[in-house]
């Protein structure tokens, strides 16, 4: 469960666009144009609103309203009277839902679990993606087109279907991998408690390395040829060229893929849910979203809303914290 294939990150491309159209030398929009007819002016003033209305309305319904609704719900509790004879009433309880959620060991440990998985899986995956991107970028690598497509293929497979495939590959009675390992005397159960984080991390790495590789690779391709040629003339080639010239130049792409991977891991859901079918011991609150959904299943909608808000906060703090940390270090260097 990673972010949708969205990639815009920095506002950089947008800003450069604004520089072009914002205070442009030529009048860009229709508004500054002299109005030929009196009534047309009125029409044109409302045109932007008319065009924005369909998207805007739906955006309010599906993005803004749910946030407000969740925030609002998280401040209330369902109060049931002692005997349950009268219908339960909703009572304002301030932040007490939040205190409850933080005291809920299952929820907090699900947050810690995805953070730990991310701390290991994200660097491994991005390291692999960077390595593959550099190898594909090297001048004399053969079969570039084939390898690029091969690495990218898993990304085209929906997360749950990927999870489904891997859960078969892990499933003790069917697994050809466990079979092969047993052949050399190793008996592994990928669905056991101690293996689960690794098994899930592997599905993520399998599914997302290619995507990250493509993003980094296109950043590498955008490096001007003169730059690498000049470095090569100075005797900087191979790994030294990669380390001293290429990697620093693709820093924005690396930063972007890191932030999206962090966000992606924090909202882990699809893979472990599918894995549950082969790993009965996998708890139903294994990840934060699963924990929140658990509350929905138990009809504790207020608790579910609270956990959603908390998870959003965690993701926000992580991604922005990482960006600030990197920017600060970048300034010091």
């Amino acid at each position: 469960m990673h972010p949708a294939p969205t990639t815009p990150t920095t506002a950089a491309p947008v800003r450069s666009h604004e520089e072009r159209t914002g205070p442009a030398p030529k009048p860009s929009g229709p508004t500054p144009a002299p109005a030929p007819r009196g009534r047309a002016v009125d029409w044109r003033r409302w045109t932007p609103l008319g065009f924005l209305l369909p998207f805007g309305t739906l955006f309010l319904i599906t993005f803004v309203a749910p946030i407000c609704y969740a925030l609002h719900q998280s401040l209330f509790k369902l109060h049931r009277s002692g005997l349950g004879l009268t219908p339960p009433s909703t009572v304002f309880t301030g932040l007490s839902n939040y205190a409850d959620a933080l005291a809920d060991g299952a929820f907090t440990s699900s947050v810690v679990r995805v953070l730990l998985i991310g701390a290991v899986q994200v660097p491994l995956m991005l390291g692999l993606a960077l390595l593959l991107a550099l190898l594909l970028d090297a001048r004399r690598t053969p079969g570039k087109r084939f390898f690029r497509l091969a690495f990218f293929l898993p990304y085209a497979i929906p997360g749950v279907i990927g999870g489904l495939m891997w859960s078969f590959l892990y499933q003790p009675d069917v697994s050809p991998i466990a079979d092969a390992l047993a052949g050399i005397g190793l008996h592994v159960d990928f669905t056991s408690d101690s293996w689960l984080p690794w098994s899930v991390g592997n599905i993520l790495t399998w599914g997302w390395t290619g995507y990250n590789m493509i993003v980094i690779h296109s950043a590498l391709k955008a490096i001007p040829g003169e730059l690498t040629e000049a470095a090569a003339l100075d005797g900087c080639t191979g790994w030294r060229l990669a380390w001293h010239v290429k990697i620093p130049l693709v820093r924005p792409a690396l930063l972007m893929t890191t932030v999206f991977s962090i966000i992606g891991t924090a909202q882990l859901y699809n893979e472990p849910v599918v894995m549950k079918a082969v790993a009965p011991n996998l708890s139903s609150s294994w990840t934060p979203i699963m924990a929140a959904q658990n509350e929905v299943a138990a009809n504790n909608y207020h608790a579910a809303a609270t956990r959603s808000v908390l998870l959003a906060l965690v993701i926000f703090v992580l991604s922005f914290g990482f960006m600030r940390f990197v920017n600060k270090r970048g300034a010091a260097l």
Partner: protein, 290 residues
């Protein structure tokens, strides 16, 4: 280049070793990427008993793929075909509507100056950075309070809102739609919507394909939202249906059919990716390259 004087033969040997090493890494990574997919293809050709008894990465004696597909399509009154159709309906319909809405909004944000334009655009940008699954639960809570859950619209409405599409179409419209063309249309007396429809949409066509493609993939691969919203299995998309079958551990539907179903469900999307490479690469990289 100083070291080259040490001996061209040795340098050549290290270079050859290096190239073999590079190739080995690439081949290993390609195996890692492709083997599970290979397993899926091979397993979809096996009957129920062969699935457990034969080597997972090679074909069993009999190729049963045709029988698997026909049995699969007959299971539970053809529910699988229904799921595929549902996925197609959500994905094609949703992506078409999302593309049109995004094109309109992005075009206006790029080509008109009006008060609050930047505020609107920044809000859209912010929404891109918040992952969609985070909205699924609150949306479910909200929809269940308004009794929209368990209807077609519960999945369709959230699917047609694409902030990323608005972002892309603003970038494309700013770069590709010339103001002169719009002015010419206005001088000819065309209305604003007519100008958008006959000029802007035509110029933007290639980028609209990119937006459509991304939204199609997003909707087709979505699991959390439809699994929350839809209890009625006749409304579910194929992802939700297959996971539900898997959860029953082969008791209602045997594993080889689930595997065949998984293979059939990824074919449309993989084919689309391969055919339309040009388009998704444009969208994939538009944010990352400075």
């Amino acid at each position: 280049m100083k070291q080259s004087s040490a001996g061209p033969a040795r340098a050549g040997a290290t270079r050859a070793a290096g190239r073999i090493g590079v190739l080995a890494v690439l081949v290993l990574a390609a195996l890692y990427s492709l083997l599970p997919v290979w397993w899926l293809v091979v397993s979809a050709t096996k009957g129920s008993s062969d699935l457990f008894s034969s080597n997972g990465f090679w074909f069993a004696g009999r190729i049963e793929i045709v029988r698997n597909v026909s049995t699969l399509l007959g299971v539970q009154d053809g529910i699988y075909g229904r799921w595929l159709l549902n996925s197609l309906l959500y994905a094609v319909g949703g992506a078409l509507a999302a593309t049109l809405l995004s094109a309109m909004a992005g075009y206006v944000l790029a080509k008109y100056t009006f008060r609050g334009r930047e505020a609107v655009f920044n809000t859209v940008l912010g929404a891109i950075l918040i992952p969609a699954p985070l909205f699924a639960l609150p949306l479910y809570l909200m929809f269940s309070a308004t009794h929209i859950v368990n209807t077609f619209w519960a999945v369709f409405i959230p699917s047609i809102v694409s902030p990323f599409g608005v972002y892309l179409s603003r970038i494309y419209a700013a770069a590709a739609v010339p103001d002169e063309l719009l002015e010419a249309g206005r001088i000819d007396g065309a209305g604003e919507f007519r100008i958008f429809r006959s000029i802007a949409l035509r110029v933007l066509q290639p980028s609209l394909v990119t937006i459509f493609l991304f939204q199609f993939v997003t909707i087709w691969t979505n699991y959390l939202l439809p699994s929350l919203m839809l209890a009625n299995d006749r409304l579910q998309p194929v992802t939700v249906g297959l996971v539900a079958w898997k959860e029953q551990r082969g008791q209602t539907v045997p594993y080889n059919l689930i595997i065949t179903g998984a293979l059939l469900s990824v074919i449309p999307i993989v084919v689309m990716f391969l055919l339309l490479q040009r388009y998704w690469k444009a969208g994939l990289t538009s944010g990352s390259v400075k």
